[in-house]
C-alpha cells in the first residue's frame, strides 16, 4: 500500500494480524514524510501510545469514539494538531527530564541540530503540566491565552521532539553498549 501515492492521514491499527503496527509507522514516515500517522487503539494506554509516538506517529484514536469525534480528530491531525492524554503528558515530561540530563552531561550528538531543540520550551512544558492536571486542550488554551489550535500544534511539536529524543537516546545507549562506533 505504501508503494502508492501518499495520503494526508494514515490510520494504523497496532494490532494488525500480519505484523507490528510500529513497523508500518516507521516505514510510512520514511516513504510518506508529509503524511500524518494516526494510531488506532482500544484503550489509549501509555505503553502503546508512547511506542507509536516514538516511532513517529502524530496522534492516536480510541476505537470506541463516536463517529463525529473520529472525524474531528482526523481533521485536527491533518491540520497539524495532535491529541494528548494526561498520562501521556506525564510520560513525555518524565522522558524529557531524564534525556535532558543525558544531553547536558554527556555528548552532543551528531545529527542533533542544537542541544536546546532537544529540550522542551517553557511554553511546551506549561502545556504538558496543564494537561497532567486534567485540563482539556481548550481550557489550557484559555489559561495560556492561546487558541486551542495552537495548543494542539504544540503537542505535535512535542511529539516530534520525543521522536528525535528517543532516537538520540537509542544512539547514546548503543554507543555506551559498544554497538555503534563514535
Amino acid at each position: 500500500m505504501l508503494q502508492g501515492p501518499p495520503t494526508d492521514v494514515l490510520l494504523v491499527d497496532l494490532g494488525l494480524p500480519d505484523g507490528s503496527g510500529i513497523d508500518v509507522i516507521q516505514e510510512s514516515i520514511i516513504r510518506w514524510p508529509s503524511c500524518s500517522v494516526m494510531v488506532s487503539t482500544n484503550f489509549g494506554d501509555e505503553t502503546h501510545v508512547m511506542r507509536s509516538i516514538e516511532a513517529g506517529a502524530a496522534g492516536y484514536l480510541l476505537k470506541d469514539s463516536s463517529p463525529a469525534r473520529i472525524i474531528d480528530e482526523i481533521r485536527s491531525l491533518a491540520s497539524g494538531g495532535s491529541p494528548i492524554s494526561p498520562i501521556i503528558a506525564r510520560q513525555v515530561l518524565a522522558r524529557f527530564r531524564t534525556s535532558a540530563g543525558v544531553t547536558q552531561d554527556k555528548v552532543v550528538l551528531p545529527g542533533q541540530v542544537e542541544a536546546s531543540s532537544e529540550l522542551l520550551s517553557p511554553r511546551e512544558m506549561e502545556v504538558l503540566n496543564y494537561i497532567t492536571r486534567g485540563f482539556t486542550a481548550q481550557e489550557t488554551a484559555k489559561l495560556m491565552q492561546l487558541s486551542p489550535y495552537t495548543v494542539r500544534t504544540f503537542v505535535r511539536r512535542i511529539y516530534g521532539k520525543l521522536k528525535v529524543s528517543s532516537k538520540s537516546e537509542a544512539i547514546y545507549e548503543a554507543r555506551t553498549l559498544g554497538l555503534l562506533r563514535d
Binding site: F43, D64, R69, I87, T132, G134, F135
Partner: protein, 662 residues
C-alpha cells in the same frame, strides 16, 4: 595473515607472562645477592691483606730464655736495662709456653709476695729493614704487670695496675722505632711482675714490618674480639625488639624469655670487651654467675619446647645457680670469683661446664622425636659448652696460650639458635596469614554466592507474591464489576428483555469499567490529580453532545504515598460513580470538580446544580446500592464519603488521609 601472526604472538607473550615475571624476579634476586656477597668478601680481603709481601722479612720468635726472682712489692720498671746485668740463671723454653711455677725459696716463704719473671728472646742477625717495625704476639698471659724492652730500652707497658678484663683477648702490638744511627735490634726482653703462685704464659712472637704483620694482627683482633662483640650487640638489639613485641603481646612469654636471654648473654659476655681492671667486685660476680643464669633460662626454654616437666632437674639447676649467685655476692664472698687465684674459681667454671653438658644432653634426649626446635637448642647448648670448655682449658693453662678463647662465640651460637627459632616462627606466621587470607577470600566468595542465591530466591518469591496479589485483585474486580455486569446483560439479552440501545449502553459501561481498571494500573507516582485528570479524560466523550458543563477547579495536592493500583481503582470508581449519578439522575447542567488540601487529609468535592435527593432515604433504599458501594470503597482505602443534597443541588465529598498507616 600478517595480522594473524601478530595476534598469535601477542597471545603467546601474554601466555608466557607469569614465567617471564618469575625469571626476572630470580634475575633481580641474583643481581642483588651476588654483588652484596662480592662486596663483603672484597672488604674482608682488603682488611686482612698484607701478609703476602715482605713475609720473608718477618722473624718468628719461638725460643725464649727465662728466669724469675721474688721480691717484696711491685716496682716501676726501669727505663732501660741490660740483660747481661741479670743473674745468669736463664732457662730455655719453646714458645708458645706456660712457664712452670717454681717453688719459692724456703727462706723467703710468705715474705716475698711478688715474683718478677724475665723472658729474653734473641733476634737473629739480618739486614736492616725499611719501614717501621712492630712486635706482634697473641698474648702474654699473666695476672700482673708487663713491660717490654727492645735492646734494653723500655718500649711498651701494659696492665700497670693488674690485668684488665679484656687483656687476654687483646693481641700484643708493640711498634719498635728502629731509627737510623741506632744499632739493629738484637734482643727483646719482657718483664712480668705477678703473684708467685700463678703461671706466666707467652705465645710465640713475630717481629717484622708493620705492613707484613698487620693482616695477622687484624685477623686475630677481629675474630677474637670484634666479631663476637658485634654478634653480641646484635643479639641484644634483637632481644630489645623481642621485648617490645612482648609489650604488645604480653601473653606470649617466650618473647620476654628471649629478651631475658639476650640481656643475660650480653652482660655475661661483656668481660670480653671492657678494658677495666679486674677486681673482685659486682662485675666479677655478674660475669661469673651469668653463665649459670643463662643455662637456667635455656633449660626453661627447652622445657617449654619439649613439654616435659623435669622437676628435679629444674630444682637442681636453680638450686646450684642460687647457691653460686648468693655465696659469691661481693659482700658475702663465701665463694671467690675471678681474679682470685683460689682453686675454687676454676672449680666453679667446671661446674658451669658440667651444667651445660647436663642441660644439653638431657634437653637433647627429652626433645628427641618431640621437638625439632628443642633438639636444635640442645645441640646449641652442647656446642656452647664445648666452646666454653676451650676458655676453661686456656684459663687453667691446660693448652698453650696461643689458643682462641672460643667462649666469646657462645653468644653467637645462642643468638643463632634463637634467631633460628624466631625465623621459623616468623616464616610460619606469614605462611599462616597467607593461608588464612586465602581461606577468608574463599569463604567470603562462598558467602557472597550464598547471599546472591538467597537474594535471588527472595526476589523471585516477592515477584511471585506480587503477581499473585495482582491477579487476585484483578479477579476480584472482574468478579464484582465487569463480570457480573456482562453476565446480567447476557441473561437479559437471552430472555429478550433488553433492547439493543440498552445492550449497547451496558457494553459501553463495561468498556468504561475496563478503561478504569487499565488507568488504575498506570503509574501515577502518588499524584492524585493525575489520576483525576485521567478520569476526566475518559469521561470527556460522555459529556460531549450533552448540555452539561464540567467545571474543573482543581488545586495542587500533596503526594499520596499510599496511592497504588488497588487504591487508585477505588478512588476512580468512587469519583466516577458520583459523576455518573449527577449525569443520570439529577438533570444537572453543571458539574463542578474541586480539590483541596487541609489538615491531615485532602478532599475531592463534586457538586451539581441538579434537583438533589434525600440522602437518608437513598441510603436506606435498594436504589442506594451505588452510594453503599462508594462508602464501602472509601472505607477500604481509609477514606470517607459524604453527601449534602437539597433542591438546589448535591455536593459529594471524598476525604482521603495524607498518610495511611497499616
Amino acid at each position: 595473515m600478517l595480522c594473524n601472526g601478530i595476534f598469535a604472538r601477542q597471545r603467546q607473550a601474554h601466555h608466557d607472562h607469569p614465567r617471564v615475571k618469575k625469571l626476572s624476579t630470580s634475575f633481580v634476586a641474583a643481581a642483588v645477592l651476588l654483588p652484596s656477597l662480592a662486596l663483603l668478601i672484597a672488604v674482608g680481603i682488603w682488611y686482612l691483606q698484607g701478609e703476602s709481601q715482605q713475609s720473608a722479612a718477618v722473624v718468628h720468635l719461638t725460643q725464649a730464655d727465662w728466669q724469675d726472682a721474688d721480691g717484696r712489692s711491685f716496682r716501676q720498671p726501669p727505663a732501660s736495662i741490660d740483660s747481661n746485668a741479670l743473674p745468669h740463671r736463664w732457662q730455655s723454653a719453646a714458645l708458645p709456653s706456660v712457664l712452670p711455677v717454681t717453688a719459692q725459696h724456703p727462706a723467703a716463704s710468705g715474705g716475698l709476695p711478688v715474683r718478677t719473671t724475665w723472658l729474653k728472646m734473641s733476634l737473629p742477625a739480618r739486614p736492616a729493614l725499611a719501614g717501621p717495625l712492630v712486635l706482634y704476639g697473641v698474648r702474654i698471659k699473666t695476672d700482673g704487670t708487663v713491660a717490654v724492652y727492645a735492646n734494653g730500652r723500655l718500649v711498651h707497658r701494659a696492665q700497670q695496675n693488674g690485668p684488665l678484663w679484656n687483656s687476654l683477648f687483646t693481641p700484643l702490638w708493640v711498634p719498635l722505632d728502629e731509627t737510623e744511627g741506632h744499632a739493629p735490634l738484637t734482643e727483646i726482653l719482657i718483664r712480668v711482675e705477678h703473684a708467685p703462685e700463678t703461671a706466666v704464659g707467652l705465645s710465640s712472637l713475630w717481629m717484622g714490618p708493620v705492613d707484613a704483620l698487620r693482616g695477622r694482627y687484624y685477623l686475630r683482633q677481629w675474630l677474637q674480639r670484634e666479631l663476637p662483640a658485634t654478634l653480641s650487640a646484635a643479639f641484644m638489639v634483637v632481644g630489645i625488639f623481642a621485648f617490645f613485641v612482648w609489650v604488645r603481646r604480653s601473653h606470649e612469654t617466650s618473647y620476654l624469655l628471649f629478651f631475658n636471654l639476650a640481656a643475660v648473654s650480653f652482660v655475661g659476655h661483656l668481660h670480653y670487651y671492657v678494658s677495666l681492671p679486674i677486681v673482685s667486685d659486682w662485675f666479677a660476680w655478674l660475669t661469673a654467675n651469668a653463665l649459670f643464669w643463662l643455662l637456667v633460662v635455656i633449660h626453661l626454654f627447652l622445657r617449654q619446647l619439649h613439654g616435659r616437666r623435669q622437676r628435679w632437674l629444674s630444682l637442681l639447676l636453680v638450686g646450684v645457680t642460687l647457691a653460686s649467685s648468693v655465696a659469691s655476692l661481693p659482700f658475702i664472698a663465701i665463694l671467690p670469683v675471678y681474679p682470685s687465684t683460689s682453686l675454687l674459681v676454676p672449680l666453679m667454671y667446671a661446674i658451669a661446664v658440667l651444667m651445660g653438658l647436663v642441660v644439653s644432653i638431657v634437653g637433647g634426649v627429652s626433645a628427641h622425636g618431640r621437638s625439632r626446635e628443642g633438639l636444635l637448642l640442645a645441640a646449641g647448648v652442647g656446642l656452647s659448652t664445648l666452646l666454653g670448655m676451650s676458655d676453661w682449658l686456656l684459663y687453667n693453662n691446660v693448652i698453650n696460650p696461643e689458643g682462641w678463647f672460643l667462649g666469646a662465640y657462645t653468644n653467637a651460637v645462642t643468638f643463632a639458635m634463637f634467631g633460628q627459632l624466631m625465623y621459623r616462627r616468623y616464616v610460619n606466621a606469614i605462611t599462616e596469614v597467607e593461608q588464612v587470607n586465602a581461606g577468608l577470600a574463599q569463604r567470603l566468595q562462598a558467602r557472597e554466592a550464598e547471599l546472591e542465591l538467597s537474594h535471588k530466591l527472595l526476589r523471585e518469591a516477592a515477584l511471585r507474591q506480587s503477581i499473585s496479589d495482582e491477579r487476585q485483585r484483578l479477579m476480584q474486580d472482574m468478579h464484582d464489576g465487569l463480570g457480573s455486569t456482562l453476565i446480567s446483560a447476557i441473561r437479559s439479552v437471552e430472555h429478550g428483555g433488553m433492547n439493543s440501545a440498552k445492550v449497547s449502553q451496558t457494553l459501553k459501561d463495561c468498556l468504561d469499567d475496563l478503561k478504569l481498571m487499565i488507568d488504575s494500573m498506570e503509574p501515577v507516582d502518588a499524584d492524585l490529580l493525575l489520576l483525576l485528570a485521567t478520569l476526566r479524560f475518559r469521561l470527556e466523550p460522555r459529556l460531549e453532545g450533552t448540555d452539561i458543563t464540567l467545571v474543573w477547579e482543581v488545586q495542587e495536592l500533596p503526594p499520596l504515598d499510599w496511592l497504588e493500583p488497588s487504591s487508585a481503582l477505588h478512588i476512580l470508581r468512587i469519583v466516577q460513580e458520583s459523576i455518573a449519578n449527577s449525569l443520570r439522575h439529577t438533570r444537572a447542567s453543571r458539574i463542578r470538580v474541586h480539590t483541596a488540601a487541609g489538615g491531615d487529609g485532602i478532599t475531592v468535592t463534586i457538586e451539581d446544580n441538579g434537583q438533589g435527593f434525600d440522602v437518608a432515604t437513598a441510603l436506606d433504599s435498594a436504589a442506594g446500592r451505588g452510594l453503599h458501594n462508594q462508602q464501602r470503597r472509601a472505607q477500604a482505602i481509609r477514606g470517607k464519603v459524604s453527601w449534602v443534597s437539597n433542591s438546589a443541588g448535591t455536593s459529594f465529598t471524598l476525604w482521603l488521609p495524607l498518610e495511611r498507616h497499616a
